[in-house]
Amino acid sequence: MFEVITLLTLTVIGYIFGSLNERRHFRSILEREETLRGVSTFTTRIPPQPYSGASHLATGNVVISIDYFKKISAGLRSLVGGRVNAYESLVERARREAVLRMKADAQRQGLDMIFNVKLETASITKGAKGQIGAVEVLAYGTGLSRTP
């Protein structure tokens, strides 16, 4: 009985705080994406025109933890298959947050274009038993300026 109560409490706490956090995070992401629209990102390795101005590495890194509710939800999902609803929003947040931090990093250096943008992801706990997982996303690219 004790185990069930612990489990339910953790799940409810996980859901309440997890969804509050997620909503707040998405609001902040939308806001900052608007303010950083001026910094453009490109996946091409080389700028279309010859460039001789300043170039610096721009990086953005973020680690987001899952909550107990997401963990259980994904655990159940692994039995029946299908889209892992619980992790989709988590990875989306991490990716957009990392890109935003990279853009902010570029802006801090006075740059407004980022070429050769790459994303790296890593799992912090690597599926270790009894651990709450966390996802890391690193965004990086070469920052250039439109007015060198």
Binding site: M1, E3, V4, L7, Y15, S19, L30, R37, S40, F42, P48, F69, K70, K71, I72, S73, A74, G75, L76, R77, S78, L79, V80, R83, N85, A86, E88, S89, V91, E92, G127, K129, G130
Partner: protein
């Protein structure tokens, strides 16, 4: 080359299902699937068990030998008591024609636990604590005859089969799922459901026991003695602790006692006292 900086529409990468709805659907589906699995296994077991010979039970027992050995090491410390119990069981068993292949073996275990139980291979285990709380042979005969009833009805094999299926289901769930959630949830229900015989099995064993008693003594007076002493003992802490295992495996003792008491037609019939050597010297 001209570049555009369009606004990307929201919600492309995320399912629109509400996380709680998603969770509820999965939980319901998995619970129903598991229930169907366990129910069909139970039905299958009920059909299969009576067809298996008693030699099969012996074979299963040998595979769980380590547990079994610990139990029997505690046993047979007192040949005289074991012998007495075995003889009483044999006399009771003679009131009915036992199914072919069933050889009843009674083991005496010198622990203060107040319990007795029937297990695979025709074995009955009786703890010293039980003997210390009975004063008539009629009361003890009722307990032994009840366990004989479990053996005749193949209840231990049925319980083992069901426990195995349910444990397999739990292992399946916890093996596939990365969390230990399912394991925690289901092991609890499995424990409470499977360690004990069902109420129906207990009732059937009681009925069987009353028939044996009636054949052996000519009446069923004294059949409720064990239940009566349990009620008295449960009032103090020490007695309660010794009874924990009994309570775990027998949740409906009140109703059972009433049913048994109702069938006693001759409550004043003379009872046979238990010999003195059965009581524990540590008393």
């Amino acid at each position: 080359m001209r570049y555009h900086n369009p606004k990307i529409p929201e919600g492309i990468n995320i399912s629109s299902t509400h996380p709680l709805a998603d969770f509820a659907w999965m939980l319901t589906g998995i619970a129903l699937g598991l229930l169907a699995l366990v129910v069909s296994a139970h039905l299958l077991a009920a059909w299969l068990v009576p067809q298996l010979p008693f030699q099969f039970e012996q074979k299963i027992l040998r595979t769980v030998e380590p547990v079994w050995e610990i139990q029997t090491k505690l046993a047979s410390a007192d040949e005289k008591k074991a012998d007495y119990l075995q003889k009483l069981a044999n006399r009771l068993a003679q009131q009915d024609t036992l199914p072919e292949g069933l050889v009843v073996k009674v083991h005496y275990i010198n622990t203060p636990k107040i319990n007795a139980f029937a297990t695979l291979g025709g074995n009955i285990l009786i703890h010293q604590g039980l003997l210390d709380n009975l004063h008539t042979e009629n009361g003890l005969a009722m307990v032994i005859a009840h366990e004989l009833g479990h053996l005749v009805h193949r209840d231990p094999l049925l319980a083992t089969g069901r426990a195995t299926v349910s444990l397999a289901a739990i292992a399946l769930i916890s093996g596939f799922s990365e969390t230990r959630v399912a394991e925690n949830l289901f092991s609890l229900s499995a424990q409470s459901l499977l360690l004990s015989f069902s109420r129906q099995q207990e009732r059937r064993a009681d009925q069987y026991a009353l028939n044996l008693l009636n054949g052996y003594y000519g009446h069923t007076a004294g059949a409720t003695e064990f239940f009566e002493s349990v009620e008295t003992l449960a009032d103090n802490t020490r007695g309660y602790n010794q009874l924990l295992e009994f309570f775990d495996t027998h949740p409906n003792r009140g109703a059972r006692m009433d049913t048994i008491a109702a069938t006693i037609s001759d409550p004043t019939a003379p009872l046979v006292p238990l010999p003195d050597f059965l009581s524990s010297t540590r008393r």
